[in-house]
């Protein structure tokens, strides 16, 4: 099977690959967004703590 045939998915490529891309996108967002938000929150809290100490 050639790579083009694989991408073509027997003519259903335009249905199969968007399904996988959407799944990957949603799963990535749901995992990365809380990580980034926590990092930001911890940075803010650390800044506040530093100000409070002075």
């Amino acid at each position: 099977m050639s790579f083009e045939q694989f991408l073509n998915m027997g003519g259903y490529g335009w249905y199969v690959w968007p399904s996988y891309a959407l799944t990957a996108l949603v799963l990535l967002i749901n995992c990365l967004s809380p990580m980034l938000q926590r990092k930001q929150l911890l940075r803010q809290l650390a800044l506040k703590q530093k100000r409070g100490q002075r």
Partner: protein, 253 residues
């Protein structure tokens, strides 16, 4: 909880204390991530490459490897949320509230995936993106239940009251779960009947079934990873002024 033996109740008490849970999550996350990538790789290789095309649906059926595990997760996570809601209401366990609200966006994500990939599968196979039949409509209601939980929690300022309201909503909404599951049997729908859960005689070949189960496992492990990440954020948010978060800030800087 006097009817629970002391070592067990002590174990739960300790594990559910926020700093202990936070540290535990940090210890588990790398292993869970490795396990997830392994299962995902095997599932995708089996489903997209090794498994043969379907004799009726050609290669379009390969959407099953994201559609069905996502749909299973959408039901599974909601049931978990209802259980957490019951625990939060009965025992006022803070961690149960945190896990409930942390699960909601992940469940909503899986429900959204199930709906959209179903649509992308329905177009070439049924000739339509959407029908208002029992399975599709009840799954859409599930999405609204998830969104309802998220926005209700966000709308109530007092987080204790918010957690209580959300627990009740999660418990009430659980009636929708058997409706979704049995919708293809109770009503005459365009959606196909169960092919996998007929354990005695599944109407799916092993070469197609194994990657499906691998993907289902991968999605379960993904849920653990994502819910731990969301719970870590929620714990820091709720306990921003507590001593353990202050200690956390000091070790980081």
């Amino acid at each position: 909880m006097s009817w629970i033996p002391t070592p067990i109740s002590r174990f739960f008490h300790r594990t559910s204390s926020p700093p202990h849970f936070y540290a535990l999550a940090d210890r588990w996350l790398p292993w869970l991530t490795a396990l997830f990538l392994l299962l995902l790789g095997a599932g995708l290789y089996g489903g997209l490459y090794l498994a043969p095309a379907d004799y009726q649906q050609g290669d379009s059926y390969r959407i099953i490897y994201v559609h069905v595990p996502a749909a299973w997760m959408s039901l599974f996570i909601y049931v978990l949320m209802a259980v957490m809601g019951a625990i939060a209401l009965v025992w006022r366990m803070k961690l149960a509230e945190v896990m409930l609200i942390s699960s909601a966006p992940i469940g909503a994500g899986f429900t959204f995936i199930a709906l959209v990939t179903g649509s992308l599968w329905g177009k070439p196979m049924w000739g339509t993106w959407w029908v208002w039949d029992a399975r599709l409509t009840s799954e859409l209601i599930l999405l609204f239940l998830y969104l309802g939980v998220i926005s209700l929690y966000g709308a109530i300022e007092d987080k204790k009251a918010a957690a209580k309201a959300v627990s009740i909503l999660a418990l009430v909404g659980v009636v929708n779960i058997p409706i979704i599951h049995y919708s293809v049997e109770w009503w005459n729908t365009l959606h196909q009947g169960p092919t996998v859960t007929k354990i005695d005689k599944p109407s799916i070949h092993v070469s197609m079934l194994v990657p499906l189960l691998l993907m289902a496992l991968a999605f379960k492990v993904y849920y653990l990873i994502a819910v731990l990440q969301a719970a870590k954020l929620e714990l820091v948010r709720r306990e921003a002024s507590s001593q353990w978060v202050k200690n956390l800030l000091e070790t980081k800087s």
